[in-house]
């Protein structure tokens, strides 16, 4: 056997810093490790063979769960995409798995004929086809890497808890920065446009109009962004309804009420009834759209469901948005 790279099972400062930066969306699509064979601990010919992807965040999750274990790790080339998504796209698939097993001569490395594949890789893998192509039996491991030690100790048996994908608060919280950064980039651009446009509304000079309307308008826009990208994911289980667009709209409505309290407590013409109505339409529309976008990051939405809610919600979001803009422009009067 040639040289096999041995990996540490504790994460260093650079790994942790890397995890934080990709959670904020920086360099996320090129955060990869080299595909191929790795060793954790000092594996031998009877040691388990674990399969994963070359997204470094996934790879780091796996190896940090393997302290004290002696296992082989086979890394498939998924172009830096995590197991579940790569399985959905097919890059984490039967052919890719069999090719890596062949290329790294796993058949000569170990005496057994078992591959531990993460359960969330199953949408890309056909266990019976892997058996036919490579002679190896696929054993589906737990959903979460942290359950691997228990899984291996139990003779590769997963409990029901290990098989179930949940979406608890902690898992939603780590997704917030990326949701906010992606929407925030557009919102920054829109803020400039809103500031610029608001100067042309009203009888006062440009700069006075910007001060009068622009600041409130930008604050309203960001209320919608916050409601859709932070409040909606955070309170997902307690927001009413099953559709994410509805949950987002409710979060947006609550945010709009808070925003209006500020709007009417201040002085100036921004606080008339048309402006109030406008924001009651605009903020929920923005939050509803962004809440709907969170379906992709969630762990339990189906394509059929997403299409259904989009068909219903998007026309409403557009109508609410247009009506809101007209009301706002009217309240500002040219």
């Amino acid at each position: 056997m040639g040289q096999v790279a041995q990996v540490a099972t504790t994460l260093g400062r650079r790994d942790r810093w890397g995890a934080i930066t990709v959670r904020f969306g920086f360099g996320r699509m090129r955060y990869t490790v080299e595909p191929g064979l790795y060793a954790a601990g000092f594996p031998g010919e009877d040691s388990p063979v674990l399969v994963t992807t070359n997204y470094k965040l996934s790879f780091d999750h796996l190896r940090s769960a393997l302290t004290g274990q002696n296992v082989w790790i086979v890394v498939l080339d998924t172009e830096g995409i995590n197991v579940w998504c790569a399985a959905g796209k097919g890059t984490f698939g039967t052919d890719a798995l069999c090719a890596q097993v062949e290329a790294n001569k796993i058949g000569q490395l170990v005496r057994h004929r078992r591959l531990v594949v993460p359960q969330l890789g199953a949408p890309g893998i056909a266990a019976h086809a892997v058996k036919r192509q490579s002679g190896f039996t696929v054993v589906y491991g737990p959903v979460m890497a942290r359950h691997l030690p228990d899984f291996l100790r139990n003779g590769m048996k997963a409990t029901q808890e290990m098989r179930r994908k949940t979406f608890p608060l902690a898992e939603r919280v780590v997704l917030l920065p990326l949701e906010f950064v992606i929407a925030g980039k557009w919102a920054l651009l829109l803020s400039l446009v809103v500031y610029g446009l608001s100067g042309f509304f009203g009888p006062a000079p440009f700069s006075e109009n910007v001060g009068l309307h622009g600041s409130f308008a930008v604050a309203g826009l960001w209320s919608g962004i916050l409601a859709g990208t932070i409040i909606t994911p955070l309170f997902l289980p307690v927001l009413p309804g099953r559709a994410f667009s509805l949950k987002g709209a409710v979060a947006g409505f609550l945010a709009a009420l808070i925003f209006l309290a500020f709007l009417y407590s201040g002085q100036g013409s921004s606080g008339d009834i048309r402006a109030g109505l406008a924001w009651l339409l605009l903020i929920p529309a923005i939050a509803s759209f962004l809440g709907m976008e969170f379906t992709g990051a969630s762990t339990y939405t189906s394509l059929s469901g997403v299409k259904k809610e989009m068909r219903l919600a998007m026309p409403l979001q557009i109508v609410a948005g247009i009506c809101g803009l007209f009301l706002l422009a009217w309240s500002w009067r040219l």
């Binding site: 969306g25 360099g27 699509m29 090129r30 172009e79 830096g80 995409i81 995590n82 579940w84 998504c85 790569a86 399985a87 959905g88 796209k89 890059t91 359960q119 969330l120 199953a122 949408p123 893998i125 056909a126 266990a127 019976h128 589906y140 959903v143 997963a158 029901q160 098989r163 179930r164 994908k165 949940t166 979406f167 608890p168 608060l169 898992e171 955070l234 309170f235 997902l236 289980p237 307690v238 099953r242 559709a243 709907m292 976008e293 379906t295 992709g296 990051a297 969630s298 762990t299 339990y300 939405t301 189906s302 394509l303 059929s304 469901g305 997403v306 299409k307 259904k308 809610e309 989009m310």
Partner: protein, 105 residues
């Protein structure tokens, strides 16, 4: 705000179908389903929570006798939008597109 309550998506939309006649009771669908959609009853798989199905197609892929069918796809509004706007990659996401691009998973 906790994660103990089971999260369910829209009712009655999942396309999942199971042919119990063809089922050989191997239990692979129970092993791969992350949403506990299936249970075993008298040596055959059965669907106990149809609305929990997220159409990931893990069960269909791993059924050795093709007793399961589902119109598979990823429940991602962004991907659906990208496809509608004709800007799609394979699945509308950024896999396989140029590195550094945004996109979802």
């Amino acid at each position: 705000m906790g994660g103990t309550k089971r999260l369910l998506y829209l009712k009655g939309v999942a396309t999942l179908r199971l042919d119990q006649e063809a089922c050989i009771g191997c239990g692979m669908c129970l092993a791969v389903c992350p949403q506990e959609v299936f249970a075993m009853d008298k040596g055959k798989a059965c669907i106990i929570e149809h609305d929990a199905c997220m159409e990931c197609s893990a069960c269909m892929m791993n059924c050795p006798v093709e007793a399961i069918w589902v119109q598979n796809g990823v429940g991602c509004a962004q991907a659906v939008l990208h496809t509608m706007l004709g800007r799609s990659g394979k699945a509308g996401c950024s896999a396989g597109e140029k590195p550094g691009g945004g996109g979802c998973c």
